[in-house]
Each structure stands twice: as C-alpha cells, then as structure tokens.
C-alpha cells in the first residue's frame, strides 16, 4: 500500500523540486516534490540519504565497548544511545537492578541531555521560524539573527543548553561522547563540589524553562488557527510510561493509543517489543517504516516524542511541568495538543520537567554515593529501551560466551516518526504549496513541519545501501582511490 501523495501515478513529465539538504535539523535528509505544469503536487517524500551499518559492524566487538561505541550514532543525543545500550548490557552482566546511585546518576545524565537537546532544538534551530515567520528573510532566519533581534531569548537558549551539557559532563565525564555509564552501573558519582556548582544555577534554569513554555503558548495565542492547522494529521502514538502512568523518560512499559486517545496496549514489558511492532522498508529511503503489528502498515503507523509523551502519560511527576501539561491538554478544547506545531509546546514542557527533575536529584544524597556497580548471572540477550529526546529508542543485542556481540537491532526514535513526518509534509504540501508558484519561503514551510519532530537523521541512518550503478572516486591528484558499489540486489 502507498499513502496519498507518496507515489505519483505517472511520474513521467513531472517537474522535480528538491530541498537538499534539509537544514536546521540534525543529520542528512532531503525532500523531493514532483509537480505538474500547473504546480499541482503529485508526490512528496522525505528521504534519509545516508547509512552507517552499526548493526553489522558492532558484531564481534566485546559487549562492554558497546555503550561507548554506539553513542557515535549521534552527537546531539549520545546519552540516549549510551544509556539504552547500558540498560541492555545490564541484562548481559546480570545486573537486574542497578544500585540507587547508578540509577540516579544515569537519570541525572538523561535529564541533562533532555534539557540540552530540547534547548538546542527549540532555540538554536527552530525559534527563527517561530519568531520571524516561516517565509522570513533567509539571511536572518538562524540563531545569529535571533541573537540580534531577541538577544535575551538567544542568550537564555545558549545558557540552558550549556547547563544541560554541564550536567552531562559531570555525570559522563565529557559533554559529547562521555563514558560514565557502563554495563552494570556507572563509573563515577557526583562530587560535592560538582553538586554545589549545579545547584547554584538550577532554579534559574527552571525559571527560564517556564518562560520558554509561555513563549510557545504566546505564539499559539497570536496565531491560533494557523498554528493548529499547520501540517495537522491524525495518528496513533507510542511512549514509555511508569507503572503508575507517570511520564518516565528513563524506564517504563510501552503504551500505545489511537488518534482518539483510546488505549491500544498499555504497560507492555518492552523486552517483548517484537510482538507489538514491525518494520517496513521502502525503496526510496534508508529509514525504515515501523508500525503497530495489530493494526498493520496502513493504519498502524504512529508518532513518538514529546507530543506523544505529554499527551500519553497520566501525569508528569514534577509539579510545574504537570501544571503546564494540564494547561496544554485543555487549551482550545484540546486542539493544540493534536497540532504538529504542538510538538514545540510539549517539548518545552518536557524541558521544564527535566530542569525540575535535575533539581530533585541534586537534593538526593544517593547521587554522591559510592556503590556504583552490580553484577549477577550472565545472560545472552539484552534489550534496553529509553525515551530519548526525540522518542522511544530500542537497543537489542545478543552476546556470545566469548563476550562478543553477535547480533544487534537498533530502532531509533526518528525512525518511529518516519511515516508521521511524511504525513506532515504531505499535509503542508496540500495546504500551502499545491497550485502555487514555489518560493523559498513556501519550501521552508515543509522544513518547518519536519523540524517539529526534531528529527535526528544521523541516528536514523544506521543501515547500509548499495545501488545498481558504478562511479569512481578520484583523489586530488587524479588517482582512482575507490569505486562505488556496483550491481544492485539482483
């Protein structure tokens, strides 16, 4: 089955327009549109154009290398992969329950990452669209332009991100690609001096995060009909929730709901994910298309990430963020919570939750404890799941008796949102582009819709590709240093 606007009935004679690369997102992606002579849109696709092959080349590596290796999938959310792999490897080393210190240091690291990633995405990457307009001057539509026009907003964004990065540095050892979490626990806890340094600024971070929620709310208020309609579509949703239904970004059971909010499954033990989820492959993207097994590929696709989590949980276990959640869900009769641009609002609510969560953990003495590691009976299979900034992340490994990884399956957050992002940009194409002369500003509408999902396209490129063509790579001196893979999958 193909979806409306996925594949043109007669591509011959249609004009191709490409947005290449999609900018102000993480990773490599492009959008192609096929248009007829009257500028009617016939096909819209988001392509993930790169590949890595992590699942294959980590085979044979020792399991204890994996948490450090796989975070190189992504420099924006390395902590997600670091922790999902650690949770999987906990099972390999038989650490059924890590120590309270290890659990809380990992949670602190994760909150630090949610804070920095959400701040980066909102302030550095998306705020120019929202503050200046989707079709504003391309020369100003970036963080430098924001720094000139709204220096206070830009400065807060930079300092919120800095704080999150400092939390990561103190728990993981480095701001990007740290080493703090290991199979069975962590290798460091927080020193009192580090705790004091983080406590000093945490209340400011909470206040600024609240302001950020209000900023998004004001943007909605100013332009409500447009914000709610932009790229809107109906979808199922998927997220992890705690046993009592609370938002829990570090651990929980799987909950899926349909577009009307009806629960499809709840508190599913995530190690059985393959009973509930399947993936499809389409020839035009390296990113796979997951769906809920019970509903099938046509009806079973879903969205993940801040919007799915804020709407999907029963409550947020920190008071300020929960109040904002209730406000968001009730706003305009619940319509804002179904909007694609509602992702930004939900994301800022989560940023507030992360800031509050950091504060609570900094007041917990376990974070300076010295019981760091646990071990138990060795196992051959480990599955780790976590709510990364962009959504549900699955790491699944098999390890042999020589401690080598023999099989790996990674389903990253952005992959879950693949069909949802394609639906959003097709809806934007119908709403604003169809029949119009395309301008840079109109094309940016497509990118604005993609940015709502905060896609991590480098995470999403963990697979390899091979094409039926041959091309030579020639170096600066004219020598052939490589040739492209030739021959397709005949």
């Amino acid at each position: 089955m193909t979806f409306d606007l996925e594949t043109a009935a007669n591509p011959q004679g249609l004009r191709r327009v490409a947005i290449d690369p999609v900018s102000r997102v993480e990773g490599h992606g492009k959008v192609t549109l096929l248009l007829d002579a009257d500028d009617r849109v016939h096909q819209v696709r988001l392509h993930i154009v790169e590949f890595r092959g992590f699942e294959k080349f980590i085979q044979g590596r020792p399991y204890w290398e994996v948490p450090v290796m796989v975070q190189r999938l992504c420099g924006i959310c390395p902590v997600s992969h670091h922790l999902a792999a650690s949770k999987a490897m906990d099972q390999i080393v038989g650490a059924r329950k890590v120590t309270p210190t290890a659990d809380k240091i990992r949670r602190l690291m994760h909150f630090g990452q949610i804070l920095q990633s959400h701040a980066l995405h909102f302030f550095h990457l998306c705020s120019p669209d929202l503050l200046f307009g989707f079709d504003s001057d391309v020369a100003k539509r970036n963080i430098v332009g924001v720094a000139q026009a709204h220096p206070d907003i830009a400065k807060r964004g930079v300092l919120l991100r800095k704080y999150g990065q400092e939390v990561i540095r103190m728990t993981a050892g480095k701001r990007v690609h740290g080493t703090g979490s290991v199979p069975g626990g962590v290798n460091k806890s927080l020193a009192e001096s580090e705790r004091a340094a983080l406590l000093k600024d945490v209340y400011q971070m909470i206040a600024w995060s609240r302001d950020a929620v209000r900023l998004v709310k004001e943007l909605f208020e100013k332009n409500l009909a447009f914000y709610e309609a932009f790229g809107r579509f109906r979808a199922n949703s998927l997220c992890l929730v705690r046993g009592d239904g609370a938002m829990d970004l570090y651990h929980g059971g799987l909950r899926a709901r349909d577009a009307d909010g009806k629960t499809l499954f709840d508190h599913v033990e995530y190690s059985t994910y393959w009973d509930y989820l399947l993936e499809d492959v389409k020839p035009w993207s390296y990113m796979k298309f997951p769906f809920l097994r019970s509903l099938g590929p046509d009806e079973g696709w879903y969205r993940v990430g801040p919007l799915a989590r804020v709407a999907g949980c029963d409550f947020i276990p920190t008071p300020l963020a929960d109040r904002e959640r209730q406000d968001f869900l009730a706003y305009d009769g619940g319509n804002a919570a179904g909007a694609t641009l509602g992702y930004h609002w939900a994301r800022m609510i989560e940023m507030l939750h992360a800031a509050e969560g950091i504060k609570d953990l900094l007041h917990d003495d376990d974070i300076t404890g010295s019981e760091l590691m646990t071990r138990g009976e060795r196992a051959g299979r480990g599955i780790g799941m976590i709510e990364a900034p962009r959504g549900t992340l699955i790491h699944h490994y098999r390890v042999n008796e020589d401690d080598q990884v023999v099989r790996a399956n990674l389903i990253v957050s952005t992959t879950h949102n693949n069909q949802a992002m394609n639906e959003a940009i097709r809806q934007v194409a119908r709403q604003y582009l169809d029949g119009k002369k395309l301008t840079e500003g109109l094309l940016n509408h497509i990118e604005v819709a993609i940015r709502c999902f905060d896609p991590c396209l480098s995470c999403a490129t963990h697979a390899l590709g091979r094409m039926p063509l041959a091309v030579e790579l020639v170096d600066a001196d004219g020598r052939v240093v490589d040739e492209l893979a030739r021959g397709g999958d005949e």
Binding site: D20, V49, G75, W274, D280, N409, A463, V481
Partner: protein, 183 residues
Amino acid sequence: MVETKPRKLRIATTSLAGCFGCHMSFLDIDERLFDLVELVEFDRSPITDIKHCGRCDVGIIEGGVCNAENVHVLREFRVNCKILIAIGACALNGGLPAQRNHLDLRDCLQEVYATEASLSSGGIPNDPELPLPLDKVHPLHEVVKIDYFLPGCPPSGDAIWRFVNDLLAGRTPRLPHELMHYD
C-alpha cells in the same frame, strides 16, 4: 581619522559521514558564540538555511566520505573555501563509520534490510534519489587537500575556540597539550 571595521570573515561548516558531535562541540563554546558572530558570519551550515557553500574564508568539515554526495559537497567546499579544516576523528581517519571498511557492503545491506526478524517486508532501498554509497569510508584528505586537522571525538569546545581564534587573529593555530586529545 575614521575607524573602519574589518569585514567579517565568512565561515561554512558541514557534516558528512559524522554524527554532528563536532558541531555540538562547536556550540559548546557556549556564550562565546555571541563574541564569535561579531567577527564572523555563517555561510552554509546546519544552523543556517543556506544550502550551497559560496565564497568563504574558512570551511570546517566533520565526518568522513561515505557516498557520492559527500564527495560532491566536499569538493564544493574545497573550491569555495580559502582554508579548509578537517575536524574530528571521522574527518581525519574515517572514524567509527570506517569500521564497516572490512565488511562486504552487500552482507551489511542484506542483514539490515532483508533479514531482520522484525521486518514485515524486505528489499534494499535503491531509489535514484539515494546517493551512491562508496564501498569504503574515506578520510577527507584522500579526496581533497586539507589545510588543518583538528583531532578529537569530538575536540572540546575550548579547543575549537582556541583554534578559531588563532585563525581569526592571523596566527598559525597551535593547541596547548591539554587541549590536544584523540578521544
């Protein structure tokens, strides 16, 4: 006497077969970003909407070369940038993505797209819109001349700040021992 402000240097940045971690480290200069934009302006970069590199003083590239599009972008940078800097492990030696260099591409594809247990349908993506993958991942200097190499996975924000400041001041960049590292 009229004081003339020196023109801003123009910088382009991109990530090829990398993870964006070096760009994150660039942003780890934190509030010094506001000092930097007094001296430089950004051309093509993941933080702007400029899609092609124009004439620039400095180009900064993270990531190695893994497909035809990477080669194309790298050459566009070389043609347009007076100074080209390779930043991070992947740009310098291929890095982690180059771990696939000892494997057969077909096996990898088969494994990922055709044999996963959770897949409902197989098939290796082969649309012409997808750039051709190289069968090996290459460091940048195997394809174009590189003027400076900044190691690290990623180099720290402080190292990048020091490096860029030396360049802006017209000095040959030199990193003190504590800022030079490869992890």
